[in-house]
């Protein structure tokens, strides 16, 4: 029996996020993060993984007298996205599996812990979870990434069909050496998947969002950065163009890990070094998740325009009767922090930690299966069934992204490509 885990509470900044773990390895897994508290006694524990403190959490363990009727545990974490995402990611490496929708309930049912009425009560919740997963899959498929995903689907379907053709139609007129094409197909998908795992939004949660501060020279950007950081991270002076390279400061804003970027003031300049700084500021800001524009007047036009969601403020409000934002007096800073928090909140909520983590695991499983398939390629002649087995694992793992690829589709690909039927 697998041990499963999932975030049991709706994600939210405020308060507490509960991660539930159930199955034979539940207590072992928790013991790898902290001293196991006595059964059914809530204890505050510092969760530590490989020397890193993850969180101070309330830890609870149950034996068979639990919701699921299995050994289980609950980690009551601080409701920070970064913390939750990190804990889920660590659990996935401890030989635990993320729960399917309704799986805790199913185990409870199978262990005689629930009756029909109780299941009916939970059905809506489970459907909501399923619906969220489905929506996320649709979003993935319809977005910019959709075309790429369709490409992977075609490539993997083709690779699997080529291998299956050499197995099931050995007596027929199918190409004998499919290895070069299969290798190429796998390579393309593998390198894409690697790239995706790097840029995936779950990484954002773990490694932080980037928020860039933009404005003309001397608009008060560095002062704002220092105010938010609570220390003198950037040199400030009255001389326009003091900041030339990008200065990064890592902060916790509203529970999100945020890397704040202070950039060179935007202006046309003949100074070679400064102009490099300006173009670097523009391109880096374009890649950031969010931009704060500090203007000196309401009608000021900068070298780059704000995107929807970007925050636009009048800077140095200390000089203009309390309108706008001032790093110097702290005016408007609370409002800024709140707004950043709301925006990042909205962006992550639309994906949901649980779902992103699910995708991350799917992609990881896909990558390792494809690697295994690749390393089995030299044996395509004598053991093609092993390559086929790995490709099947990859296709199953990526089902959430690719949609289902079943035997009929494989056969369809084979029959449309080769003249089968002696």
């Amino acid at each position: 029996m697998d041990t499963i885990y999932a975030l049991a509470t709706a994600r939210g900044r405020a308060g507490v996020a509960v991660v539930r773990i159930s199955g034979p390895r539940a207590h072992d897994a928790v013991a790898q993060l902290c001293d196991l508290p006595p059964m059914r006694v809530a204890k505050l524990r510092r969760l530590v993984w490989q020397g890193d403190v993850l969180d101070e959490a309330l830890v609870l363990t149950f034996d068979y007298a639990s919701f699921t009727g299995e050994p289980s545990a609950e980690l009551h974490l601080h409701g920070s996205n970064a913390v939750v995402a990190r804990v889920l990611q660590i659990l996935s490496t401890l030989d635990l599996r993320m729960a399917e929708a309704g799986e805790f309930t199913r185990r409870a049912l199978e262990n005689g812990k629930l009756d029909l009425t109780q299941v009916e009560g939970l059905a809506d919740l489970i459907d909501a979870d399923t619906e969220a997963q489905r929506k996320q899959a649709v979003r993935v498929l319809s977005g910019a990434i959709g075309k790429k995903v369709e490409g992977w689907r075609q490539a993997l379907l083709r690779a699997a069909a080529l291998i299956e053709a050499t197995i099931d139609f050995a007596d027929e007129d199918v190409p004998v050496d499919v290895v070069p094409e299969v290798r190429e197909l796998i390579d393309v998908v593998l390198s894409d998947l690697h790239r995706e795992t790097v840029s995936a939004i779950s990484e954002r949660i773990r490694d932080g969002f980037e928020v860039a501060i933009l404005g003309a020279p001397n608009a008060g950007k560095s002062t704002l950065l220092n105010a938010l950081a609570g220390r003198d991270a950037a040199i400030i002076s009255d001389i326009a163009g003091t900041t030339r390279d990008i200065i990064e400061v890592r902060l916790d804003i509203a529970g999100f890990a945020v890397t704040l970027l202070d950039t060179a003031g935007l202006r046309e300049t003949d100074d070679v070094v400064e102009s490099m700084g300006v173009s670097r500021a523009i391109s880096r800001a374009a890649d950031a998740d969010l931009r704060i524009f500090l203007l000196q007047s309401a009608d000021e036009v900068l070298l780059t325009a704000p995107l929807p969601d970007d925050l636009v403020y009048l800077g140095k409000s200390d000089l203009r009767d309390g309108q706008g934002l001032s790093g110097k007096t702290g005016q408007g800073i609370d409002d800024l922090i709140e707004k950043i928090g709301q925006i990042l909140e909205r962006r992550t909520a639309s994906a949901g930690v649980l779902i992103r983590e699910r995708h991350r695991i799917a992609v990881q499983t896909g990558i390792s299966a494809l690697n295994a398939a690749k390393s089995a390629l030299p044996r395509a002649g004598d053991q093609p069934e092993l390559i086929a087995a790995e490709l099947r694992v990859a296709l199953n793992a990526l089902e959430a992204l690719l949609g289902r690829v079943d035997v009929e589709m494989l056969l369809g690909e084979i029959f449309s490509s080769f003249c089968i039927g002696k």
Partner: protein, 619 residues
Amino acid sequence: MKHFDVLVVGGGHAGAEAAAAAARMGVSVALVTLRADAIGVMSCNPAIGGLGKGHLVREIDAFDGIMGQAADRAGIQFRLLNRRKGPAVQGPRTQADRALYRAAIQTALNVIPNLTIVQAEVAGLILNGTQVRGVTLSDGAEIGAGSVILTTGTFLNGVIHVGDQSRPGGRVGDAPSQLLAAQLADLDLQRGRLKTGTPPRLDGRSIRWDALDSQPGDDVPVMFSFLNSAPFVRQISCGITQTNERTHDIVRENLGRSAMYGGHISGVGPRYCPSIEDKVVRFADKDHHQIFLEPEGLDDHTVYPNGISTSLPAEVQESYVRSIFGLEDVKITQHGYAIEYDYFDPRGLDQTLQLRALSGLFMAGQINGTTGYEEAAAQGLVAGLNAAAAALSRPPVLFSRTDSYIGVMVDDLTSYGVTEPYRMFTSRAEYRLTLRADNADQRLTDQAIALDCVSDHRAGLHHAKMQALAAATQTLANVSMTSKVLADAGIMISQDGNRKTGLEALALQDCNMDKIIALVPDFAAFSPEIQDQVAKDSLYVQYIDRQQKDIARLKNDEDQIIPADFDFNALSGLSNELTLKLNRQRPANINQASKLEGITPAALLLIMAGLRKQGKQRA
């Protein structure tokens, strides 16, 4: 009125296997067929087995069925397909002498004392409400039966096409069962229409064999039955030739006169068995297609040219066949034809192949939309065992996707239905590495013995084999060796300091039987067959271990059976749409329910909770 526990209608491969299986279970069985002398006829190509199909034959044999043994007796060219690939994808196949095969099947049936063969036409079913009570014959006589198994193949509304000529018919020379078809039509079952084709048959004496390449059988023939080790009759070779541009031109010029391309046929044909018309049209860039010239028997001059099935008019067949190298002067003994026929949507069946709408009526073979002798026989086995189990008031005999190709096929048919004639492929089995032809007996014979449908002879051999296998496996598992010891024996592995058992060592690419015996001398005490089987079992161990969790989950879902009278309407919380769908499809278990379109985890949980509740009330 005579009465039998089980009555089988039809004497094809499904009917023969069904009758034999039911009889092995010890109940009284009647097999009713139009022509007793045609029982066991191979009406299409003269071959048994292949990839996926060979697996099915082995599984039938593991249940002490008759197809494998008959194929061994009739086999004239044995080939283990994919011999150079891994054991999981190797499939035994043989060319079979038609006359010998038919004789072997008839002999196997004739020696069964509790099996009566009745030569008659079944005109209708005797029904009592929704319960089958027996059949009426065309002469008005009645036979009573606890269960009836319909294995009527392509006989239902069969229409034969040659060019623009068409006429009703089951297969060439036989009348279709119109009366029975009419009654079945009244039952209001979902049905569909399929087609299949045959090539022209050739007179072997007019083929220029010496100009053609030939394909011999394997040097070491592999038998179907676990009881046999060598062929029974003389072995022959098949000839190989190919079509050419001129053949294709002739076909292309006459496409409009083909029954299929002329719009005379509405049924759907199999994509894996295209006619020569299809090949020329769909793969226009290919300048030749391979043809195997398969002799139909040792004393039979008829040759089956595998690869050129057709529904072109007779004179066009003459002309394109003679354009083929080696066939310039060939005489056609029977022209190719296409046949269209009705099948019943197998989603109307439960997992025992019993019709849900009509208690006691089973269906097996082409009537369910499948193609192939092996697929038919395997369904016959399932229906026969279950009809007998019902007569004995025993629980149903269920096959799982996790234990057999038979389970894969039954689940595919009853969950998804068919869109083209259903044929088995190894790629249909998600646990292909576990479900091998070589271990069919290890997977299934214990279950068969528990059902009491295996001869004492086979049971004895099986127990001895299983004991030897266990001992041989243990002998290797008990030995632990360092990588240095292995390297000294010529088995190169990474020097990671991990010890390996003899079993793990045997699975290494670098290892072979000589090396392992040098390392574990005790292993030499076992027979070569046992040693070989241990090697095959060890080969996929790490993959199979990884699949065990999936297998356990699937098995758990399959084991939660939804009774035929389960009331989906009583579940509150299911959408109307889903309730309708569940009532229409009536999934047999939780696994099948999970595959329904639109089903959600919550809906599955509701069904599972409902099962527990209704189960409790009944208990």
